[in-house]
Symmetry: C2
Subunit: 310 residues, 2 copies
């Protein structure tokens, strides 16, 4: 068995417009590169090889908490050293904490001869994610683990994740550097929703799932509308409406807020369109004088995976 493993763990889109808290998609880029090395010394030690100000105390770090959860299921007296190079900017809304949590447990599992199933690894990673978001959820973890398009059908009483086929799609994401904390983004959500709106929302969820599974791009586009969460959160992301308008004009199929924001994603049929859409998204924030990053890349068919081992 290897002594040290390097894992590539992808950014992810969660919610996907109408599918708040349940749908997600893996991206090929950006990603975190996570090296985990097995040690005789018990416990977890974390080092960040990047400029972001993230905790290195394992009990306060998503990768640390995920690995500690995994270690509790391991009888051997071992530990892990972790080096995390974050390609995903924390707080951007494309699954930064999920990528670190998933990547670290996938690496540790490789060190342990892959004794755990992916569903067990999801449970460990969820423990890590809870540190960052304050809630137990898997809408970014599921696509980071399985790749492609995923549904978290239930967390309780039994975790039920369904990995689903996705057609070829190119994603354009803009991350305007506005701070939107996940906990704040949750506070603006309504406690209750009118039944009629809920029906429209689940009609779109049905349409989106059907659009993915039948590779019907028009249906995907028609179904991306979010009647409940985006109206509550749009005030947190100035430029959102204009960004969508320009992206659609540039040929995007559709999109919305990524996760709890502030990133905005758009799905596209081709790389060329996705590049134009990325530029269109960026132009809105350039005009607003808000710093931003854009990412353009395909949907990733694989989740977190071992790149090298020694």
């Amino acid at each position: 068995m290897p002594h040290s493993v390097l894992v590539h763990s992808p950014a992810t889109l969660s919610n996907l417009g109408c599918g708040f808290d349940v749908l997600g998609l893996a991206l090929q880029a950006p990603y975190d590169a996570i090296r985990v090395t097995q040690t005789a010394q018990p416990g977890v030690r974390i080092r960040h090889l990047d400029p972001y100000d993230l905790p290195t105390d394992p009990a306060r770090n998503v990768a640390g908490v995920a690995l500690l959860a995994l270690l509790r299921a391991v009888p051997e007296a071992i530990g892990f050293e972790v080096e995390i190079t974050k390609g995903i900017r924390p707080g951007s809304g494309v699954g930064s904490s999920a990528a670190s949590a998933v990547g670290s447990v996938v690496a540790a599992n490789a060190l342990l001869g892959n004794r755990f199933t992916k569903m067990q690894l999801v449970e460990f990673a969820m423990a890590g994610e809870a540190v960052a978001s304050g809630a137990r959820h898997a809408d970014n973890i599921a696509p980071a683990m399985f790749g492609g398009f995923t549904l978290v059908r239930a967390l309780e009483p039994t975790l039920d994740i369904v990995a689903l086929a996705a057609p070829p799609l190119w994603v354009a994401v803009v991350h305007p550097q506005i701070e939107v904390k996940t906990i704040e983004a949750r506070k603006v959500l309504p406690a209750t929703v009118p039944l009629g709106l809920a029906v429209q929302q689940w009609a779109n969820v049905a349409g989106l799932v059907a659009g993915f599974l039948t590779a019907d791009y028009d249906l995907i586009g028609r179904s991306l509308a979010d009647y409940i969460v985006e109206p509550a959160r749009q005030a947190l992301i100035p430029g959102l409406a204009e960004a969508r308008a320009r992206a659609l004009a540039a040929g995007a199929i559709g999109g919305g807020i990524s996760g709890s924001g502030p990133s905005i994603f758009m799905l596209n049929k081709t790389e060329a369109i996705a590049q134009s859409v990325g530029a269109a998204l960026g132009s809105v924030f350039a005009e607003l004088g808000v710093a931003y990053n854009t990412y353009v890349g395909p949907v990733a068919t694989e989740g977190a995976r071992v790149i090298s081992e020694s």
Copy 2:
């Protein structure tokens, strides 16, 4: 072109558990047999060849209103005589009015050289359905028109119906002879729902659509739970919980209230299981001393269709 056409128009399940107001499924039986004959005399004349006490005034009859809507789009000065043999009991919750509305416009369209698209026919049929239910909706009309498994993604601003593949499934339905009026069944619905429950519901909608499209029977079964509508309506249908319990014990995949009730449906993998499940469903109402009918049959892959013409 034919002078007289006989159409077979199927019963349908709407809602399908979690998919309130948007999902539906066509049954091979029961069905309405509808003969429409073109006349030189303008307008619509209706004759019911069955024991049910339904209006024959075309302005108050679902088939009549649907045909009058169709005639308004026809420049010729023609009319229709309609003979309806209802195999579907009115008020049973398996799309009785939708079957009559759809079957009559499909027949009229055949008489007119099929000049209207199925989507146009759905619009005419919806005008008819509104007479029976008091609301414009298409969750029974869509499967009656297209067959198989259908999603009504939107009624406004543009009617958007998606016909989806369904795996081989056998349906068992029990119709306990309790009166549940659609309008009454709508009144017990909550005006608003907690966001968390709405999320669980659309997770199940996503699972159900994915289960159908990937022929994953277990996923279909797990996803059939309805957290919003069934809890509100279960008091209208004594025996529902016991019927479900016995059906699952007899091997059903899952099920729930059909439409606004009182019928209860269960989906099954085989005809033999569906027969046992039908008997189990019936046994509950036999013990309660409530008269009932059961139907067992496969999902119909086709919607309303011409059987003979002359």
